[in-house]
Symmetry: C2
Subunit: 217 residues, 2 copies
Amino acid sequence: MSRSTPSNTYTRIIEAALTLFNEEGERHISTNHIAAHLGISPGNLYYHFRNKDEIIVQLHQRYSNDMMTCIQSAEAPQSLQDVANHLENVFSIMWHYRFLFSDMNALLLRNAELLGAHNVFTREKASPLVQRYLAQLAKIGIIEGSQEDIQSLALNMWIITKYWFDFHGSVRGKRKLQEDSKHLGVLRNLSLIRPYLTEQYRQEWHEVVKDLLSRHR
Amino acid sequence: MSRSTPSNTYTRIIEAALTLFNEEGERHISTNHIAAHLGISPGNLYYHFRNKDEIIVQLHQRYSNDMMTCIQSAEAPQSLQDVANHLENVFSIMWHYRFLFSDMNALLLRNAELLGAHNVFTREKASPLVQRYLAQLAKIGIIEGSQEDIQSLALNMWIITKYWFDFHGSVRGKRKLQEDSKHLGVLRNLSLIRPYLTEQYRQEWHEVVKDLLSRHR
């Protein structure tokens, strides 16, 4: 398939938009920037997407699919290291689509379609799976706590994960967010889990954290 | 002092801006909107403030002062109810200046003065006091944990508090954020503290949470 076929251009637009949104911030990038970046005419871009929000809806769709695949395919963890690896995968997907997390509410408020898709993804799909994952950790004896504890832990992990890149970016001030920020996001989640660990996993916690920090340069 | 004296107008501009930013979102409000709301000319507003960001810097200054006074004047807690009351005060101040928390990074990135003031406030002033407050809770036996635990708890409380209104707004979708969202923000913090409570405070935790939820209509 040559580069000029429509379906190829469609994909190239989405991928260029993702790169530019992540690097420059979504609010600073127009459809004209994306077209110029690809060396295509604005008219060619408009043939595929009526406006920037249509591109964002597609990117959100890809993010949701990637994240659902990641969460659904997580194998039953046998150790805290497995949990950390799973969290690393989650943060890697978020990193890939990180522009979505820097100003999500503004995106959602201006786009009813995106808001609907996001709410379905969050409430009906992803959130129950996070709860189920933690319930599984409790079942096999890695963590212990009441049902209320586990639900509360899931919510706190959700909030801290959602906002981690935004928070860490603000802590680092004007310096650009670095990819190793992912490791510290995993560490935040492990710190939330720590007080619920059963005794036999407490030593492993320190080893997993030490390993994580060694990868955070 | 009549309504038309400059110092009075200065204060009225700041207060009108706060109301409009909170109600409509800072990004939707221009200096012209603020002037129109007050029934003054744009020129009169520009006599006091060169641009919108100068008003925001003043509002951030007021927020910082109010929050520092609140944190510094917190008396040594004797019970978990005292802790909850202190958290309620913190969330009340955040509610008063809630526009600051809906899109803070965008505000900080476009305004070097605000970024500097915010970093000084966060890193040098407020954050050490939060750590000290938790260390005090440990000292008088309300919570227990290693120094690492307490530092991690302080960071998690900071992140969840900072983003609570944004998160809860997104959960509620298009419905406007309600003031009772404050109580659920306090509850999030209490849920983070819970696993670190010493045994004698665990029963009180349930009572404090029940009381909080009864106030969340």
